[in-house]
Subunit: 161 residues, 2 copies
């Protein structure tokens, strides 16, 4: 299936974060372009961020490499070193186990987008840089806890779970 | 290493094809942006094609998924179904074992480029759609033969080996 018609690939705004941590992600949408095109060995997603939206909570992966290329608009990449403005054609790379967490924020008043590639692994753990949370991912789905494995608190997730 | 400075990543025009099959690839250059940025689990290359240049001989992979996104200019993607003009933002996907071989050609008078992602596997075999050739890849490098495993002929590769 060499020719991909991006307009025909479903878009989702689903957010897996628990409780109030999902607030503010309404402006983020994602198309699973890799899955839709029949490749299975790595993931490829086209992520669109409306004005004010962010890609994720700032995080890093323990097993999976991640690579992205900007495709539209302007985004701010935030990591331990600060804020970096990125434009179409700019690339960024996040090797597994590099504890420099990242996310991208659209601080403009027009949409922006990037294509992101990630390794596929049977299980994964990611840590969140700015809050006391990690996620374990396996065939049962996502399991969010504090970094020591204990349950998230009501202060963290509110009463929306 | 989130911020990648593409201007600082080495570019190569090396072509692995044997003999005269390497002719005509002088206008192709590639930057191993994934390797340069510290990721190891999949390959990411930024490939630039001068006017008239092509990405490769038309081929398909037996083990490795391949995905690309156009980043600059205009290229013609050629596969079993014909020629498809592609522009920045267009994506194409080549699942392993899909025998619909592909390559890209720059038929314009200005440079063009694409970012390509491929699975990393210990060994690989690829078949060439338009000539009687395959390649086996392992830790010893590339081994080009006819599709039945016999040596390439002088007619195929000339006297330049």
């Amino acid at each position: 299936m060499p020719k991909l018609d991006l307009s025909q690939i479903a878009s989702t705004s689903r957010c897996s974060y628990p409780g109030k941590l999902a607030d503010g992600f309404e402006g983020r949408s994602s198309q699973a372009v890799g899955d839709a095109s029949g490749i299975t060995q790595f993931g490829v997603n086209l992520v669109r961020l409306a004005p004010g939206a962010q890609s994720s909570l700032r995080h890093y992966h323990m097993k999976q490499d991640e690579f992205l290329i900007m495709t539209e608009g302007e985004l701010v990449l935030v990591d331990d070193n600060g804020a970096h403005v990125r434009h179409p054609g700019d690339c960024a790379s996040f090797p597994a186990r590099d504890a420099n967490g990242h996310h991208l924020i659209n601080k403009t008043d027009v949409p922006a987008a990037f294509l992101v590639v990630g390794t596929r692994t049977p299980t994964e753990t990611a840590f969140y840089s700015d809050i006391d949370m990690k996620v374990n991912v396996d065939t049962d789905g996502y399991s969010f806890t504090r970094k020591d494995g204990s349950p998230l608190t009501a202060d963290q997730i509110g009463d929306k779970t």
